[in-house]
Symmetry: C2
Subunit: 347 residues, 2 copies
């Protein structure tokens, strides 16, 4: 028989596990078990408890649970800049598997501010977060080094990495992706191929630039290597695009950009200078964001499996949290999507 009297003293207080216990005629321990480990509770009791829960409208107080269990079921996704649409689908992939496993995602936007990154790292020591997926290398190395020293600091990287700190990582092979892009441009007959890189200190850019140089060398074009530096954004693409295209040195006939936004900036620069793409200039982007199908001309670009990267990164982190010894590195495959911004030279 269910106790149908609501017996809490303050009429409008939030029901606790005690109220459920009273209504179900059992102890709080049993209620707790009915929720956490239903198989340890008899069928009859479990049914009574569930009815009681519905009856009093109970939902567990998470702060109390977190305190007692010393966990937060929260994962921090640390990224340099939310406004970059590149990240949104990665986050989406992370959320899928995180929610599945009962975890929440806290998006940490560092905005290139070391203090913010530090604040987010601190969440781990205060039990406000259980792990971190690091999507940027633009944070104080000291933080990461310290974390790496701790035996099992649940930290994984995705897309980006550090050249000198070996952390669990989910990413594409940036060197190879770059080689593929340059190879393709060479196959179209281009000889003066420039790269519009992201920040020079960024390891993924270094990888891509290495691929660039290696491929040029493989085709005896090393003397033509030319790397400009941007910051992944539209504006830097435009500015560096202008610089590359209007210099006195012989103008490049192709530009490989480390992001789609920069590529679109280059398109604008070319337009302004009356250089037609792809007839007089080929442009390759990176990431295959939504925009790349809708700019003019549609962008040839390298596609990363963003959703899968997010999923796998979260998977990897969950393994770490369970104390399992997982694969530390996973390389996913990128591929070149040929659209309309590349071609053989004409006129």
């Amino acid at each position: 028989m269910l106790n149908t009297q609501v017996t809490s003293k303050q009429p409008h207080s939030v029901p606790t596990i005690k109220d459920v216990a009273k209504a179900a005629g059992c102890s709080t321990a049993t209620v707790s078990r009915a929720l956490a480990t239903p198989e340890k509770v008899s069928d009859a009791t479990r049914k009574r408890v569930n009815q009681a829960i519905a009856q009093v409208g109970y939902s567990p107080n998470i702060a109390a649970r977190n305190l007692r269990r010393a966990e937060s079921k929260t994962i921090v996704a640390l990224l340099p800049d939310i406004s970059n649409p590149f990240f949104s689908e990665i986050i989406s992939g992370m959320e899928d598997v995180a929610h599945q496993a009962g975890y929440q995602i806290l998006i940490g936007d560092c905005e290139h501010d070391p203090a913010r990154a530090e604040a987010y790292f601190r969440l781990l020591s205060t039990n406000q977060a259980d792990g971190i997926v690091l999507l940027t290398s633009e944070i104080p190395r000291a933080l990461v080094k310290q974390a790496d020293k701790q035996a099992d600091f649940p930290l994984v990287m995705a897309c980006e990495f550090f050249s000198d700190i070996d952390l669990p990582l989910i990413a594409i092979d940036n060197h190879q992706a770059s080689c593929q892009a340059i190879d393709y441009l060479v196959s179209l007959g281009h000889q003066r191929i420039a790269t519009l890189s992201g920040p020079a200190h960024n390891p993924i850019c270094q990888e891509r630039n290495r691929g660039y140089r290696d491929t040029l060398a493989a085709h005896q074009l090393s003397s033509e290597a030319r790397i400009a530096e941007g910051n992944f954004g539209f504006r830097s693409g435009y500015q560096q695009g202008l610089a590359l295209l209007e210099g006195k040195t012989p103008r490049p006939t192709a530009i490989f950009c480390h992001s789609d936004e920069m590529a679109v900036g280059v398109l604008k620069a070319a337009r302004q200078l009356g250089i037609s793409v792809p007839d007089q200039l080929s442009v390759v982007g990176f990431d295959n964001i939504g925009l790349s199908e809708y700019c003019d001309p549609e962008l040839t670009t390298i596609s990363q499996p963003r959703n899968e990267i997010g999923q796998q990164a979260m998977q990897l982190l969950l393994h770490l949290l369970r104390g399992e010894q997982p694969i530390r590195h996973q390389t996913l495959s990128s591929h070149l999507i040929v659209r309309k911004s590349t071609g053989r030279l004409k006129g």
Copy 2:
């Protein structure tokens, strides 16, 4: 004198407030006060406590604090889709003032899934969140109605709203913004002006469409009204753009779009049909996202003060949380940015 012995039994356990108290030679209550209300503690003690904190490396356990204070210092920002760059700067503005006040932001991506929205609302009743900033009207109305009934449910809306539920709101005047855009197009000599609206059931779109119709009427152009419906994304802009431009009915000479992405989609459609913008077709966007300066032609669009919207929304929410009776509505001003996608008809 500070007690320099570390006296905790488990050598690697996280230091608690007790450890600090022991090291500072006072009670835990005093330590707590030294942190929360320093003015209630003598200078000497405060100094000792601070030294002790540094010495043992203490940082408070937030779960315990949340439990005791029955708060989480977390605000949920509920939005329909993270991948829309329109939201990122709003979030950014929210974060600025939230962090200032010691709050965190949890980004809740609903992905148009009612269950997700519900889950985020539930965070409030379980003390996992203290308030919600609602940036979408695409969630179950029942949720909102119920929230609205509760005396002081800390919920504010930004940008979007419900026509039949009166919640605290920070937004621009969508009707007026729309009038301004249409007026401008009329002033350029356009008569057949179409609108590419967002979802028809969306109140902000309804406002904009009302402005559209009112302005046409003011110019005796009502018979020319034509509204297509998209979903704010590139693809729908492209598809609806094609539909509007290649129909048998006389083709519109201007299209007012409810988002920049749709406007860029329309640009692509026009390009494909050989319609030149702005000579044969004018296009106006909405939101002034980064892209709008880099597409071809650069987009004439309506700019919303996104950062300020975020700041004010959070400000408003903080007022509610403090139990103050704040202004319930705040209208911020938008403005038309004229670029290259609009002009008088030529040829």
